[in-house]
Symmetry: C2
Subunit: 339 residues, 2 copies
DNA sequence: TTGTAAGCGTTATCAT
DNA sequence: ATGATAACGCTTACAA
């Protein structure tokens, strides 16, 4: 086995082979720098021969900017988070940024942020709803832009791009009222999230506008498991609820499973179900799930724009953007009476 | 608005404040280096006061190692990929590595790998089944360890840790035969993947062992959409298949949806369905999906071990690991006759 | 337009 | 055990 661990070519090697200076090499690999076509050609040729490509680490050290954005993501079993991560990554890459991924682990959270920051990321984006406030704040203190794609309770000094959870909850409540339901139950998510708080407020206000209150409520913790228990609890009431709004799709699928499988109910005739997220699996169930959908493309686009702008300008003002949701009616709710 | 964009403290600042040399600072922040308790104490104190933490970029440049692993991931809408990414990230982080994420875009694939490599990642892991061979190979040529978590057709010169797709297909076929099915159809995935090829071979061999052949087959391209069409096609045959094996869970859920929703069939009585991946949504459907499950924890663990070992030792031999699968019987297949 | 030389923030070598 | 000093590979005034 021939050991040809030839260490990679450096700009000096290219310079030597091309018969120019290192600056010339650097310039050829820098957008919009002064190089004559002739030198550029020679450099490119030499670079090709040596299979040279610039060392981004060295470049970063010199430029004091890495072109790296840190993304804090978790709960990827939830399709909506996974999709968000993928879309964010694509978009950032297309803009020329690299991505450092951080999957927080509750155990040693405090070590991770410093590590992320030690890589000198140019900005931080977080998609985790249950983050401890002081983490993003630590990032902010280093002067880097930080954008949260979830509202975090008590963290409104941070930039955010979020979905209109209140509006979403309100839309769900309105739909259920307008399709004739009177005993509307709610399966909530983790109560330490702004997501849950706002979706619930929206629901309550919508019901109130129709002279109703939430018929019953149970906490599903945003998990499928938790929602199975919650559903059993709600369906044991008498009379049973005639509709359930769930704070995410996973939980709505659990409600669907339990109501049909264990209680033999017909959906949507005996029981209407509305989920939240409009995630892929909401289209995969049968009957397909009616769900409130955040406008993910818009959120991603706003976030990336904001991040890129703040990196470029150093703008340190705090911004909040709220993106409207849309209701996707599928088969777990009745059709609206035509007006 | 007070602009206190104080540039972060450097080791020199800490050294000055602590009244020691830069080397002393460096040593205090290096595992197992000779520093007296006294200097360490002084350094740590000064560091705390200045809120200093070492610059990993500079460190990387000097050490010629970044502690970064590149992960190439895609198709995160497929829960099994998302989960794999999360598990890999957790594990690598626990081992002290950082992660550079690359989500390939078919359009400009060729630009991305060089960019990833330019960040001088210590190793590359890929979870994408449809990767173009020359990309991982480019990484290999730089002398870095590359591990594929999917077999890629014609790329067996690369390290791999993969799931026993042949065994999985075989197990599915066997289960269906043993539960009394005779007209077993197959919804295939993209034919340019080793995944699909091996699952199909396993299925065929299992049927052959019971004197059967695949009753009919259609390509679902690993997508939900594709599988809906495929299912309609298969169920239009007469007589209809009495079982369908799908090359992944998304497609199996489509089969479930179409067979029940559009053809009014009872599952598993009229039609048995087996999926592949044992992904979270397979537990969320009703009836819950029987599925062949790769042992993800084991795959992740083997991969991380291999990567870390190869980084440490520089070992350049090519290794292939195949992890056994397990069959998870839920409600879309009949119970096995008790022997 | 091109080259020279001084950083960027660490670590490693080698004296002390 | 500690401190100078030279890398690490690149960019960027500044001068030519």
């Amino acid at each position: 086995m021939t050991k040809k661990q030839q260490t990679a070519a450096r700009s000096a090697d290219v310079a030597r082979l091309a018969g120019v200076s290192r600056s010339a090499v650097s310039r050829t690999f820098t957008e919009g720098a002064y190089v004559s076509d002739e030198t550029r050609r020679k450099v490119l040729e030499a670079a090709r021969m040596l299979n040279y490509s610039p060392n981004a680490i060295a470049r970063s050290l010199s430029k004091r900017a890495t072109g790296l954005v840190g993304i804090i993501a978790a709960d990827l079993y939830n399709p909506v988070h996974a999709q968000m991560l993928e879309a964010m990554s694509r978009s950032l890459q297309a803009r020329g940024f690299g991505i450092v991924l951080l999957v927080p682990d509750t155990s040693n959270f405090d070590e991770f942020i410093p590590r992320l920051l030690s890589y000198q990321v140019d900005a931080v984006i977080t998609t985790v709803a249950t983050l401890d406030t002081h983490l993003p704040l630590a990032a902010v203190q280093t002067g880097r832009p930080v954008v949260m794609m979830q509202q975090i309770l008590g963290a409104n000094v941070l930039n955010s791009v979020s979905s209109d959870d209140y509006g979403g909850g309100h839309a769900a409540g309105t739909l259920l009222c307008e399709t004739g339901h009177r005993r509307i139950a709610y399966i909530s998510g983790r109560s330490d999230t702004a997501n849950n708080r706002d979706r619930e407020r929206g629901l309550r206000d919508a019901l109130a506008a129709h002279g109703l209150a939430v018929y019953a409520q149970a906490n599903g913790l945003f998990t499928h498991e938790g929602a199975m228990t919650a559903t059993r609890q709600l369906l044991s009431l008498s009379p049973r609820p005639d509709a359930i709004f769930c704070a995410n799709d996973l939980m709505a699928l659990a409600a669907l499973q339990v109501s049909r499988g264990e209680f033999g109910m017909a959906v949507p005739d005996d029981l209407a179900i509305v989920g939240y997220d409009n995630s892929a699996p909401s289209m995969w169930s049968w009957p397909a799930l009616t769900s409130v959908g955040p406008d993910m493309a818009e959120m991603v686009s706003l976030t990336v724009d904001m991040v890129v702008r703040k990196i470029a300008t150093g703008d340190a003002t705090v911004e909040h953007q709220v993106v409207p949701v849309r209701m996707v009616e599928r088969q777990t709710t009745r059709e609206r009476p035509t007006a």
